[in-house]
């Protein structure tokens, strides 16, 4: 499938090792691992993945780290990288990530809407406003005009998920992709009107790198977009 959509890979890429190195945001860990497997199963090149926070990856790339593709969790870090490169490709938004409410799998508190988080006595975990997910969660709550006093402000968004999985809180607000990948929780949608959507751009770090472009084409293909949707990302 990979080669059908990318004629160039049958004629050999300009990457000698025949592999593509992809730097991807930490929140893409699960889905990009699956995408790399899809490419290999289709007879495409070996995909070498490196995951970290987008800002960490951007710093590494600006400092000259050898990679072919960069997939960022926000536009700001992408811009930093593009500005530092000599001849980069054109960044494309390949997925979006929304916020979602997570509750215990059986939803014992019967939470159905974001307004339900206001209920007295309900234990809610949020990410701290100092980290992006917590900042977004507060924006969403403000937009929905919902006043929540959480039981705890967790230091990262995965810890919010853990508190819900362990049953220590009744609800939390996390990324939809975190909710989709998690066991023992149910996700409750937050309407677009109040939700915060983070754009995920991807780029070939050199515009003439055919293998890199082929990988990006695969991510943008119906099969690639379906994978992203399976892992809780919004696609066009």
């Amino acid at each position: 499938m990979f080669c059908m959509m990318a004629a160039s890979c049958s004629t050999g890429s300009n990457n000698e090792a025949g592999s593509v190195t992809v730097f991807a945001a930490a929140s893409l860990t699960d889905v990009f691992t699956a995408l790399a497997r899809d490419v290999r199963d289709a007879g495409g090149p070996e995909i070498t993945l490196s995951f970290a926070g987008s800002s960490t990856l951007a710093t590494q790339l600006v400092e000259g780290a050898p990679a072919d593709v960069f997939a960022s969790a926000d536009n700001a870090q992408m811009d930093r990288v593009i500005d530092a490169l000599v001849n980069p490709g054109e960044p494309t938004v390949f997925a979006r990530n929304r916020l979602a409410i997570v509750v215990e799998a059986a939803n014992p508190e019967g939470i159905e809407r974001i307004e339900d988080l206001e209920r007295p006595g309900l234990l809610v975990a949020l990410a701290a406003p100092e980290v992006p997910a917590g900042n977004y969660a507060q924006l969403v709550l403000d937009a929905a005009n919902v006043a929540v006093t959480p039981a705890t402000y967790e230091t990262d968004v995965r810890a919010v998920l853990t508190k819900v999985q362990l049953g220590e809180v009744d609800a939390g607000i996390v990324y939809a992709s975190d909710a989709a990948a998690a066991r023992d929780v149910a996700a409750i949608d937050i309407p677009d009107a109040v939700n915060h959507v983070a754009n995920y751009p991807i780029v070939a770090l050199h515009r003439d790198n055919a293998a890199a472009s082929a990988f990006i084409d695969f991510v943008m293909s119906p099969a690639g977009q379906q994978r992203l949707a399976d892992f809780g990302f919004s696609v066009s």
């Binding site: 234990l123 975990a125 701290a128 406003p129 100092e130 980290v131 959480p150 039981a151 705890t152 402000y153 967790e154 230091t155 810890a159 508190k163 362990l166 049953g167 220590e168």
Partner: protein, 269 residues
């Protein structure tokens, strides 16, 4: 009277690594001081975020030290003075939290005292008590990770204690209680104080078990280490100032308490 001359010269093979070790511990402190935004000090020091977190840290760490002492002293005595099957295993279990990653300790505490935990479920159902996300949870997390320092220090002192004094007192007809309170405890007082200081210092710096078991809410469970960690994400100047507060408070206590209370174990001046 002791003079400098009465001490043997320090061998060079001891001196060099000792100096390297000293520099190793001092350099990060100097580095920290160099980064402190001294011009913003007044403005930052009066932020309620820092003072509130300091207040919670002091309250909880002192409470944790008191509880760890009340229960740790008897535990140390039992480990040092009694023989029972599985004693080594008991000692290992009671000190395991020193080597566990604190986050694992926090998860274990949730599994025991959390809302869905072994005991936590009963506490919730019978008394409506929920420990996580409360100030007592902060204290519990601190006791869990810090008490082993008291237990091990006191146990070593009890094992090393010359038995003659106690035997003499016993042959003179002292009751077990009199023996414990008038002979044994006074003899190991420096070790008890050292253990308490170590316990307090560990409790003050506690982060991983606290954030996992007690969570983080300003005014209830946000201790200074947690506030510092969060400030690193948003206002690094504030994070550095909070680090400074933690360093100054800890240094003051460590220096003054040692001189005041641990004469027999402290500096041979």
């Amino acid at each position: 009277m002791r003079t400098a001359r009465s001490r043997p010269r320090t061998p060079i093979a001891v001196l060099i690594p000792a100096v390297i070790a000293g520099v190793f511990f001092t350099l990060p402190l100097i580095g920290l001081a160099a980064r402190i935004p001294w011009s913003r000090l007044g403005e930052l020091a009066t932020t309620s975020a820092a003072s509130e977190a300091l207040r919670i840290s002091l309250m909880t760490s002192v409470a944790a030290t008191a509880i760890a002492t009340a229960f740790g002293l008897p535990l140390a005595w039992v480990l040092a003075r009694t023989r029972f099957p599985g004693r080594r295993l008991v000692r290992a279990i009671c000190t395991l939290s020193m080597v566990l990653p604190p986050v694992v300790g926090g998860v274990a505490l949730l599994a025991a005292f959390g809302r869905r935990g072994l005991i936590g479920t009963l506490l919730n159902d019978w008394f409506g008590v929920r420990l996580p996300f409360s100030m007592p949870a902060v204290v519990i997390a601190q006791v869990f990770v810090a008490m082993p320092f008291l237990v091990l220090t006191v146990e070593s002192a009890l094992v090393a204690l010359n038995p003659t004094t106690e035997e003499t007192a016993r042959t003179l007809g002292a009751s077990p209680w009199y023996l414990l309170t008038r002979v044994t405890i006074p003899s190991i007082r420096p070790a008890i104080v050292s253990g308490m200081i170590l316990t307090w210092a560990r409790a003050l710096g506690e982060f991983g078990a606290t954030i996992t078991f007690a969570g983080n809410f300003p005014g209830t469970t946000r201790t200074l280490p947690i506030a510092t960690y969060l400030a690193l994400e948003s206002d690094i100047d504030l994070a550095l100032l909070m680090s400074l507060i933690l360093v100054v408070v800890s240094l003051t206590v460590l220096v003054s308490m040692r001189q005041r209370w641990t004469g027999a174990l402290g500096d041979p001046r």
